[in-house]
Symmetry: C2
Subunit: 552 residues, 2 copies
């Protein structure tokens, strides 16, 4: 076990900053502050890795240190396989991770290849060297809640409250994101340890003693228009039906229990946590546990449907609870939508997605300056300002200082150019790396998540992310990646990543302008092609040339 940490400061060990950036970001992905299991090279998301093994890691580092400014390093599932001559406006690294010919695109075949040392699971930003820790989760949830506010409450969530459940790895971001979005929240969680952890890290503000207390607090804070997050120890499958019975009306209902895993993820109604853990640990009890958990989900979803019937906006947060309830007999379980079609797709239609950047100097001051620059660039965007303020105050950096926010087509390249100027002028201590998640507007085909229920039925068409990767390569991004199986697992998704470096040169400015324009533009294009009117309108406003749409 060794400790990897990106060097800080202005001294570089590669031929230029573009290459140095790849080196530092690879190292940063494996920083113990960032990676979930750095010894196994696992960054996040199950077994999402940054390099295939330590020998490969060493060889990548070595190759980057020797790479010439007109060469390109190829990475095949975390292994450096070749160095080729391209040119200075081409990417310095090209990566393909976990891609399998469809008939063989299963976990079984992947694992066989993985055991043989021939493959690696890249997840999304793990294998693409642009993971920045849990800030991304808070931000994604925040955007989702903000968009819900825009759709249902005229963009103002003050005095509103969100009802949800689950304070686990992802779900724990919900109360903080709700607060950032300006809403109070009540989160039901069945394990006291999870509540304690979130209270300690200030992701949740208060714990209620019982349901009456919780509702009293909610009433108080919403009346005062304060955004306060409240946790309640309890079972969602019991609490939600009780709230329905009482006629309580939240302003938004969702859920992030781990309903996708009926053995380890969902406490059945009427069971104690101890009983649940014991059953989960004993394979002989799994069938009974699964049945009881599914029954709990059915009751839970029925309560969500009841809220929906009262007129409360209700969404599935990607935990498969609708499918479980349907299988358990709740016929109209899919009457409420998933979060992507409901709240994220409208953003994707305008090329809005998870824009992130990292200060290679390692100095938090550089991020503070870019935060200020973002506010200056987008003075009208109140919820961006709100996010930046709250993130600056409450999000701890992990590894190299970084920031994330969702901005759209026409905005991203402006931010990139402004950062490049700041590097050029010496205002920042070192270059800035800009990247994004693969979960973005034009970069993913994933029929169970990002491309669920596309208007034209094109959910499974993966031409789009491939074109995105090819175009970003053509435009001169610093590194570009093509992955399979991220988020939803082997066989279920294809997606691409992109990273571009602001090294303060004029050449970089040209590349930034192209790439950070084109990348979100492919998302607008993909959604316009699927028939979304807001995407067509965005394409028209921004003057995109989509031969069979904006010229027709």
């Amino acid at each position: 076990p060794r400790t990897v940490r990106a060097p800080r400061g202005a001294e570089i060990s590669c031929a230029n900053w573009l290459i140095e950036a790849a080196l530092r970001m690879l190292q940063n992905n494996l920083d113990p502050e960032v990676a979930e299991n750095p010894d196994a090279l696992v960054v996040y998301g199950g077994i999402g890795k940054a390099a295939r093994n330590w020998a490969c890691f060493d060889a990548i580092v070595q190759s980057l240190k020797q790479l010439k400014p007109d060469e390109t390093l190829l990475i095949q599932s975390g292994k450096p396989v070749g160095v080729f001559r391209t040119h200075e406006n081409a990417p310095r690294v090209l990566l393909a991770n976990s891609n399998l010919v469809p008939k063989w695109a299963t976990w079984e075949h992947f694992s066989e290849l993985d055991r043989k040392g021939l493959m690696m699971y890249g997840q999304m930003t793990a294998g693409s060297w642009i993971y920045i820790g849990s800030q991304g989760i808070v931000q994604g949830t925040y955007e989702t809640f903000v968009e819900a506010g825009v759709q249902h409450y005229g963009g103002d969530l003050s005095g509103r409250w969100i009802l949800t459940a689950g304070l686990g790895g992802m779900g724990g971001a919900q109360p903080l994101a709700a607060s950032f979005a300006g809403a109070s929240s009540l989160t039901i969680e069945c394990q006291q340890s999870r509540i304690d952890f979130r209270l300690r890290s200030r992701y949740v503000d208060e714990q209620a003693t019982d349901l009456d207390d919780a509702l009293a607090r909610i009433q108080k804070y919403t009346a005062e228009k304060k955004a306060v997050s409240i946790a309640l120890l309890g079972n969602a499958a019991e609490v939600l039906p009780e709230l329905v019975r009482r006629g309580v009306k939240p302003d938004l209902v969702t859920d992030q229990t781990s309903a996708h895993d009926l053995v380890n993820g969902y406490l059945p109604a009427g069971w104690s946590v101890a009983q649940w853990k014991a059953a989960a640990a004993d394979p002989a009890q799994h069938a009974a546990l699964r049945a009881a958990a599914a029954q709990g989900c059915a009751v839970h979803v029925q309560a969500m449907l009841d809220f929906q019937a009262m007129g409360v906006p209700t969404v599935d947060y990607g935990n498969n609870i609708r499918q479980v309830a349907l299988d358990a007999g709740v016929k109209n379980a899919f009457a409420f939508p998933g979060f992507v079609p409901a709240y994220v797709r409208p953003l994707f239609c305008r090329g809005k997605g998870p824009f992130r950047w990292v200060a290679l100097s390692g100095d938090p001051e550089d991020i503070r300056k870019t935060d200020a620059k973002m506010k200056e660039l987008f003075p009208q965007d109140a919820h961006l300002h709100r996010w930046l303020d709250m993130a600056g105050e409450r999000i701890a950096f992990q590894g190299l200082p970084a920031r994330i926010c969702w901005i759209g087509l026409g905005e991203r390249h402006r931010a990139g150019l402004a950062f490049n100027e700041m590097v050029k002028s010496g205002e920042l201590k070192a270059p800035i790396v800009i990247g994004r998640d693969h979960l973005d507007s034009g970069s993913v085909a994933s029929p169970n998540r990002e491309t669920e229920a596309m208007q034209d039925g094109s959910d499974a068409v993966s031409d789009w992310p491939l074109l995105n990767a090819l175009l970003n390569t053509a435009g001169g991004a610093t590194w570009v990646s093509l992955h399979h199986g991220g988020g939803v697992g082997m066989g279920y998704s294809q997606h691409s990543g992109v990273v571009i470096v602001c090294d303060g040169t004029d050449e970089a400015a040209q590349r930034i302008e192209r790439v950070l324009w084109n990348d979100p533009a492919t998302g607008v294009m993909r959604h316009a092609d699927a028939g979304y009117e807001s995407a067509v309108a965005c394409a028209q406003e921004q003057g995109l040339n989509l031969p069979m749409i904006t010229k027709a």
Copy 2:
């Protein structure tokens, strides 16, 4: 129904020759001399198309005519979906055809999307705008036979003979390819009409009256060291066992009946052709026909195994006959190899694959000059010379004049640079387009064909063709494509295409040098990574930088 034909000559209707080349090659793919069913935009290979529909075709033409020299057109399954700014050293067109997220990568789902107008089957060179007619088939078969000669007979097939069956669309190339390779051949074909067609087009030289006559002719020509091709009307499932009984020993045995299709493709032993056609036309008889055909294949494969036991090199030519025989009870049906692992992979290990070029002038004289240039560039390559001579003499051009030959790493870029010089000097009347099949060294993952039985078990890893496409895009190819399902159908392959234009400029020379070096080099890299020693040796000789191989 309208007729499309590429313009000839030096006058262009696009901003430059790079763009004009894409336009002409798209049109050429749909030329009635080239395409199998131009009215339906079908170029070849079942339903392999060049554009999704006529509206898309028109919009592509329009977009190309308006494209600026620093813009890139994106094609999604035959539809022009966007025009973006890149730069002059980037590709002018990027294409993604028929790609589906793996779980949905079936003919059923594809056809549903196809019916909705959302997709197109691109096959390999159809959707990549670089199909050149049947010359490619003859050449591929020729290379296979030559390589067999190298492996088994010291590179000299004179006085040798090949036993095979099937004179259909693909199989009909066998006798001509055998002659080109310097061997005599005996091809068994059960339909007189097929023999007549091949006699007329001079793909086969003579028809024998019966088996004794056929053997007498073979004896005569092999003794005289003449390469003469002989057809024999008969059923392979009857003739091959008889040859085994007689102890006749060919020098190579293979087969191209359509054993992959047991209803329409294989005449059962003891059946008349009329009886076969009637049964194929009557679904009620299909079960019986299938069983009889499978039985015939079993007998046929048993005879092939018997030849192999006598020491005769024996291969499957990609018609699935081994699988059929195995299913019918021939336990060791897979004792003889497929043609790729046997003969093509050694070529792939050296980056050797189907290099093709087209004269945009439309003047056959330009191809004659490039043929001569190839001989001049590669004076030692006797079988290349032989191919060029025979092709010049016996292959009729279809559409724009074109040539194909298999050359390897270190050769392709030299040919490209030489052609570019010839354009620059005015020796040729217009630019030359260089491309290749997706069936090539570094550009395809297809576990049932090109990547069958890889030494390390990496048959299904498709990172490789994706990296190939990204690198060719980075290098500045003129157009680059990523396809799914070519050759072997939906779910079974992923592959990439590349085309680069020699317009006679110095900038083109730089791109040509990079791309035509890198493209075959990725094939050497992929095979070296899989552990093939000849690929490792080739990488070393050519000075490739493969971080964990050539530096280790």
